[in-house]
């Protein structure tokens, strides 16, 4: 495992969609087309913490490090809100909290880096500009005495602390399993003033790829089905164009679909081309919203075809009938085992296979 979580925030059309994808999400999240490169982002308009929470597994134990990176955009100085990043141990308490205050012009406020029980120790006061997207990367080592934190903003290291207690909870719940991305402060009336996140990723130092820190600025492109792939065996909800049944934006839209009850049936779709030329392609995540139409659980695999090899995820199980749920699988290398390229991404097919 290296890359653990990735959400380009482009597949959400409303707060319901956001709540379906994230482990914990309160109402009030909105989706805006204000992200970097005019892509979608998730904007928060509540003052509670844990607005967006992603769980990861296996949980991190003492001495383990977990990385996260994201684009964030602050509202104006008079909004009084802050961005929060919180780490949660197995008891739900924060192992560490980082906030940047909307009252502070151009620099992170003093209360950022308020690692529990420790004074703020900025290496460099980072530049922060309102209404501007900035790339933040955080390395967090979980430990009750040898914890550590490093923070980079737009490629500049602004925090480098060691010897910390990064497990706030005194109850000995010594595992870490979730990160929250949140906002706090007055509720802005204008969507443009809300604290926003985009292209959120979580990774660790295991595996052979995407295991270093910092990564440098990353961009997540969302590619949706645009035509039938090599194999089409599912039955479309209507018509004959299977790819058109699953290409919509918005997870809560289940009005069109493809389905099959036959073990071994496969549906593959080609996808949009990248709209830009990337420097490097680091990973491809295939996501599908899948359900079983009865109370009998079914199993399936997500698939990716790089033109040479068809890769498959492990067996995934649908939840109980009638409940849609996102399932994801990440290919850090293409199924053939080589690094992804713009060419292989643009030529790939994604799909699904019925297992049981």
């Amino acid at each position: 495992m290296a890359l653990i979580f990735m959400d380009g925030c482009d597949q959400h059309s409303n707060s319901t969609d956001v709540a379906m994808r994230w482990n914990y999400s309160v109402a009030g999240n909105v989706v805006q087309s204000n992200g970097p490169w005019s892509e979608q982002s998730i904007s928060l308009n509540t003052r509670g913490d844990r607005d967006l929470q992603t769980a990861f597994g296996p949980k991190k134990e003492y001495g383990d490090v977990v990385y996260t990176a994201f684009w964030q955009r602050m509202g104006p100085s008079n909004s009084g809100r802050r961005g929060w990043i919180q780490y949660h141990n197995s008891n739900g308490f924060e192992g560490g909290t980082y906030a940047w205050d909307g009252f502070a012009y151009t620099i992170f406020a003093d209360n950022m880096g308020c690692i529990w029980g420790h004074a703020n120790e900025w290496t460099t006061a980072p530049v922060l500009t309102f209404y501007r997207w900035q790339w933040v990367e955080i390395a967090f080592t979980f430990h009750n005495s040898a914890g550590a934190v490093q923070i980079y903003v737009d490629g500049t290291q602004v925090v480098n602390e060691t010897g910390l207690d990064t497990n706030r909870d005194a109850g000995g719940n010594d595992s870490l399993g979730a990160i929250s991305y949140a906002s706090q402060g007055r509720i802005p009336t204008d969507n443009a003033d809300k604290h926003s996140y985009n292209d959120v990723i979580v990774w660790d130092d295991s595996g052979s790829n995407i295991n270093t820190f910092p990564l440098g600025p990353q961009r997540v492109a969302t590619l949706r089905p645009d035509a039938e792939g090599t194999t089409i065996q599912f039955t479309p909800q209507t018509g004959t164009d299977n790819s058109a049944m699953v290409d919509e934006v918005g997870g809560a839209d289940v009005s069109t679909y493809n389905e099959s009850s036959t073990v071994g049936h496969i549906d593959m779709y080609t996808v949009d081309n990248l709209a830009f030329t990337p420097t490097t392609v680091n990973a491809v995540q295939v996501s599908a919203q899948v359900e079983a139409t009865s109370t009998t659980d079914r199993e399936f695999k997500l698939k990716a075809d790089d033109g040479t090899t068809i890769g498959a995820s492990g067996d995934m199980q649908t939840p109980n009938g009638g409940t849609e749920y996102w399932q994801n699988h990440i290919w850090e290398l293409n199924p053939t085992g080589a690094a992804w390229t713009e060419t292989t991404v643009n030529g790939m097919e994604i799909g699904i296979e019925v297992v049981t």
Partner: protein, 254 residues
């Protein structure tokens, strides 16, 4: 005999055929401890899953001879109301999503004498002592032994599907048979075998439905090029004369 695997009839109704009771592969057996009058066909090792005779005092005799006119012969007196030939332990196993809808019993037998009828129940519970509410018995042919079917694919013998489904896999589930005693005096039937077939429906497995699917591509991107100031430097030469000497000087305009 090996139990048949579940299969689906052309009508789409799954059935399981239990065949003979599980008794080490051969059937029928009877257990000598219940008073076999002949040991000719009692297996060397008495099987645990066998015919059993519940009578204590009223049965006349029970024997086996491997063929016509039957393996087990039951002769009951009109005064006997407690004696049964019980064929047990069919070893059924219903799929987890199945609902039992019917039980069918085939008995190959004949009677000695005319006007002999039979009582037939499915039975379960401790020592198979619980008889189904419905007695599906009837007249038994007095001619050569033949297979007669009792119950059917929609017949639960007066019991609830849940009770029977729970009992199916136990060693005490089976069929209780005896010649009826409506006639005065002894009544005799000869039994070759009793097979049980269960009918069940399975909740159809749902489709795997894909509502949406997409790929996200993680790419490296170059940082923005940020311009905070913009100015021009112009380097030019200008000739000046100082004290009769001519110099070149540099002026920088920003």
């Amino acid at each position: 005999m090996t139990l048949k695997q579940p299969y689906v009839t052309p009508q789409g109704r799954p059935i399981v055929e239990g065949g003979y009771p599980q008794a080490g592969g051969e059937a029928p057996f009877f257990d000598a401890q219940y008073g076999a009058s002949s040991a000719d066909n009692v297996p060397a090792t008495s099987p645990t899953n066998t015919w059993s005779f519940t009578g204590t005092t009223a049965y006349k005799h029970l024997w086996a001879d491997n063929g016509s006119p039957g393996v087990a012969t039951l002769t009951l007196n009109s005064s006997d109301t407690n004696s049964w030939l019980r064929v047990l332990n069919y070893g059924f196993s219903l799929p987890g999503t199945a609902t039992l809808v019917g039980i069918e019993v085939d008995v190959k037998w004949n009677s000695i004498g005319t006007n002999v009828s039979a009582n037939i129940h499915v039975s379960y519970g401790a020592s198979a002592a619980t008889l189904s509410a419905t007695d599906n018995g009837g007249a038994i042919s007095a001619s050569a032994d033949s297979v007669v079917t009792y119950g059917g694919e929609a017949d639960l013998w007066g019991e609830t599907a849940g009770n029977l489904a729970t009992a199916l896999g136990t060693t005490d589930f089976g069929v209780s048979i005896r010649p009826s005693t409506t006639e005065v005096g002894d009544q005799t039937c000869q039994v070759d075998f009793a097979t049980v077939r269960i009918y069940y429906t399975i909740t159809a497995a749902g489709n795997v439905r894909v509502d949406q699917q997409y790929a996200e591509v993680l790419t490296e991107t170059d940082s923005d090029v940020r311009v905070t100031q913009h100015y021009v430097e112009l380097l030019r030469s200008e000739a000046v004369t100082v004290d009769g000497l001519r110099y070149q000087r540099v002026i920088v305009v920003t």
